[in-house]
């Protein structure tokens, strides 16, 4: 009797397994996943590798089709918000952490917490813990998997520094040493830095040289800024000191890159995405440059910012398959190949530690930079940072550099205006 019962149970289990497998295959059969990526990931070698990932995934999921579409930053955001409103969201898509709150508020992002927890520990352990924390605003809410990322680096034009009599073998270890080198560059009739008060990210990069994660970002519970007035006073003083030394162009301007390539600009604090341009200039025009960690106030501290592009899954009918695809493209093997191709840091720590990937200097420096850098607009997925917040930081930093405020008065005014902005 017991044997019959066991047999019955076994047969039932077998049938259930067959049925589930069949159902799985049936649910994937004829399914088309829409996959939106950044436009530079949908061109050239990057597209070829993305298509290879897709082909590999499809080979394991017969009958599935995946359409990849490249879009610019604002187009991704607009498309994903509009898609959420009209039920035409792509199944898997990318964007930046900084718009995570907007996407979560319109329901564009599935809460993937349960799916994430259901993944084997060997998968979950692959990712950078801070990046996963950024995707997880509450213990039971997780909205993304980290994809590519960056930590700011200090790109140095070695020719300019040599012209200025700076010993290029001596990497500045502190802000004081760095500032001394900037002054030497200026004395040689060249530009030391871009204007770091022109965009929010460059203000944040310099803030990172003095401040840290504990005094940066927004406290959404009280709707107040977490910027510390003492830290901001020191940072604003740095902007005042740098006024005579800067090129007047922003960190993001093409003109800044051109000045660097033309041996007119000594330092450029920015993400690793400028490296291909500088590398090409090195090969074609003999540009001599390197990249280092951004010096902080003390030798054990470094400045700069960090952030991640994210992969989100929409709560559509194909969310299970979409999640499977998202985990496939973000897994160690794919992220390792992706990092090797682009020489870009990403959120898969296991891939970054792979010897083949870690042999790339830009990646190892980025891995180090990310450890020290402050997040751009933390915390993510909690509240939408109002435009007045970002504008106030930039406006007061620039006004202080222009002499409208002393550093202390500027910091006080900035914090007051930021709190008013958040209260509104």
């Amino acid at each position: 009797m017991r044997i019959i019962s066991k047999l019955q149970g076994g047969i039932a289990g077998l049938l259930a397994s067959v049925a589930l497998a069949g159902a799985g295959a049936a649910s994937a059969e004829g399914v088309t996943l829409e996959y939106w990526v950044y436009s530079d990931f949908a061109a050239g070698d990057a597209l070829a590798l993305q298509q290879q990932f897709i082909a590999e995934f499809v080979a394991k999921h017969p009958g599935v089709k995946i359409n990849i579409t490249g879009k610019g930053d604002d187009d991704l955001t607009a498309g994903e918000i509009a898609g959420a409103a009209s039920n035409t969201l792509p199944d898997v898509f990318m964007n930046g952490l900084n718009v995570g709150a907007q996407l979560a508020s319109v329901g564009a992002l599935s809460n993937i917490y349960d799916k994430w927890m259901a993944m084997p520990e060997s998968f979950r352990a692959q990712f950078n813990a801070d990046a996963i924390k950024s995707c997880t605003p509450k213990p039971d809410k997780m909205y993304c998997l980290p994809y590519t990322g960056f930590g700011s680096l200090l790109f140095r034009n070695l020719t300019v520094l040599q012209k200025a009599g700076v010993d290029t073998s001596k990497v500045p270890a502190t802000w004081t040493e760095w500032f001394e080198q900037m002054k030497k560059v200026k004395a040689a009739g060249l530009y030391a830095m871009p204007d770091t008060t022109m965009v929010f990210n460059s203000v944040a990069e310099i803030y990172g040289t003095t401040g840290d994660a504990s005094n940066w970002g927004i406290d959404w519970a009280t709707h107040k800024t977490r910027i510390d007035p003492t830290v901001m006073t020191k940072v604003l003083q740095k902007f005042i000191d740098m006024v005579p030394l800067n090129s007047g162009t922003s960190r993001n301007d093409q003109a800044t890159k051109d000045l660097f390539i033309a041996n007119q600009l000594a330092f450029h604090v920015v993400g690793p995405w400028v490296d291909p341009t500088y590398k090409q200039a090195a090969e074609k025009n003999g540009l001599k440059y390197d990249f280092q960690l951004v010096p902080g106030d003390t030798p054990d501290k470094h400045g700069g910012i960090k952030s991640y592009e994210i992969v989100g899954v929409s709560p559509g009918p194909h969310r299970d398959l979409a999640w499977e695809f998202a985990t496939y493209i973000t897994a160690k093997e794919q992220m390792g190949r992706w990092a090797t191709l682009l020489a870009r840091y990403n959120g898969n720590a296991a891939a970054m530690a792979d010897p083949k990937v870690a042999s790339q200097l830009l990646i190892t420096k980025s891995v180090e930079a990310v450890k020290y850098a402050v997040d751009v607009q933390p915390p993510y997925f909690v509240g939408t940072v109002p435009s007045c917040y970002l504008a106030t930081v930039v406006d007061i930093a620039a006004a202080t550099a222009d002499g409208k405020y002393t550093a202390a008065a500027g910091a006080k005014e900035m914090i007051s205006q930021l709190n008013t902005c958040l209260a509104e």
Binding site: T249, Q254, S387
Partner: protein, 295 residues
């Protein structure tokens, strides 16, 4: 009987009316409805009455964008038309190949993609080594950070806009100039009228309807200015308007409220305030024109 007689006509315009209703009327009416609601495009709309309108009108950004818009319109529309008229008169004097060359050259900025035009102008305005600052340097003048100086930013935009729009207006005005009978000029010349007198007493009055179109179109376009200030300031949905919001304009603010802050009810209200302003200005233009015709 009446319906039967006109049925074919109604059927003929039905496709247009249907598409108009779907793609124009419905979005306009639904936008009007949402302007009275707190709505993030996904959650059910919550009726808030006039709160969105009140919030927008009371906001600092609205006041700033309206001030910028007023300054921009007052300068860019007349200046743009003057430059276009000057170019049209110049090109009208050329014949044959040269006419084509100049017409093509002046029209080039119109067909240039905005992002390319903005990149070129960002280079021209760049501090220290930009073309404009290099020229200032020849005269011993200090470098100006044109696109980061709240006093100069709007004039930089106006220069770009006049440069970009002059070619389009020139072509329209040129077509108007070609329609002026040459006999009028011949008669004026026989009467001893100078070139200037011919322009004032013949060209401008005869261009009246064309000028009315150019001015009205220029005003409507100016009120919707978006791409050039957006690109010149390197704006995105989360940060826009440039330093001190010196290049913040209504459509930019509306986009930011919509896709940056995900407040589509507010964005819809903003759109209707702007539409109302455009309708009022256009109506005023027609009233002025009919008043001028009656005189």
């Amino acid at each position: 009987m009446h319906l039967r007689r006109h049925l074919p006509h109604y059927l003929m315009i039905a496709p247009f009316m249907l598409l108009f209703a779907i793609f124009f009327l419905f979005p306009i009416l639904s936008g009007f409805y949402y302007s009275f609601n707190d709505w993030n495009a996904v959650q059910p709309a919550k009726f808030v009455g006039l709160a969105n309108y009140q919030k927008i009108i009371a906001s600092r950004d609205f006041a700033r964008s309206m001030w910028n818009l007023g300054t921009y319109i007052v300068i860019t529309v007349p200046l743009g038309i003057l430059v276009a008229l000057g170019l049209a008169l110049l090109v009208d004097n050329f014949t044959g190949r040269w006419a084509h060359v100049f017409r093509g050259a002046y029209f080039l900025p119109v067909v240039l993609p905005s992002f390319l035009a903005a990149t070129i102008w960002r280079w021209i305005y760049a501090p220290n080594f930009g073309l404009l600052n290099m020229m200032l340097g020849w005269f011993g003048m200090p470098s100006v950070n044109f696109l980061n100086n709240t006093g100069s930013m709007i004039y930089c935009l106006i220069a770009v806009d006049v440069w970009a729009s002059a070619g389009f207006n020139m072509i329209i005005l040129l077509a108007g100039l070609k329609n002026i009978p040459t006999e009028l000029y011949e008669a004026a010349r026989l009467d001893g009228a100078s070139k200037w007198q011919q322009i004032i007493h013949i060209t401008i009055p005869m261009l009246g309807p064309v000028l009315f179109f150019v001015v009205t179109y220029g005003l409507i376009s100016a009120m919707q200015v978006f791409d050039k200030p957006w690109l010149l300031t390197g704006s995105s949905f989360t940060t826009y308007g440039g330093r001190g919001n010196a290049l913040l304009f209504p459509v930019m603010d509306m986009m930011g409220r919509g896709f940056g802050a995900v407040k589509f009810g507010e964005a819809a209200a903003y759109g209707f305030l702007l539409t109302l302003a455009i309708v009022m200005v256009t109506a005023l233009m027609f009233v002025l024109r009919s008043w001028s015709d009656r005189r």
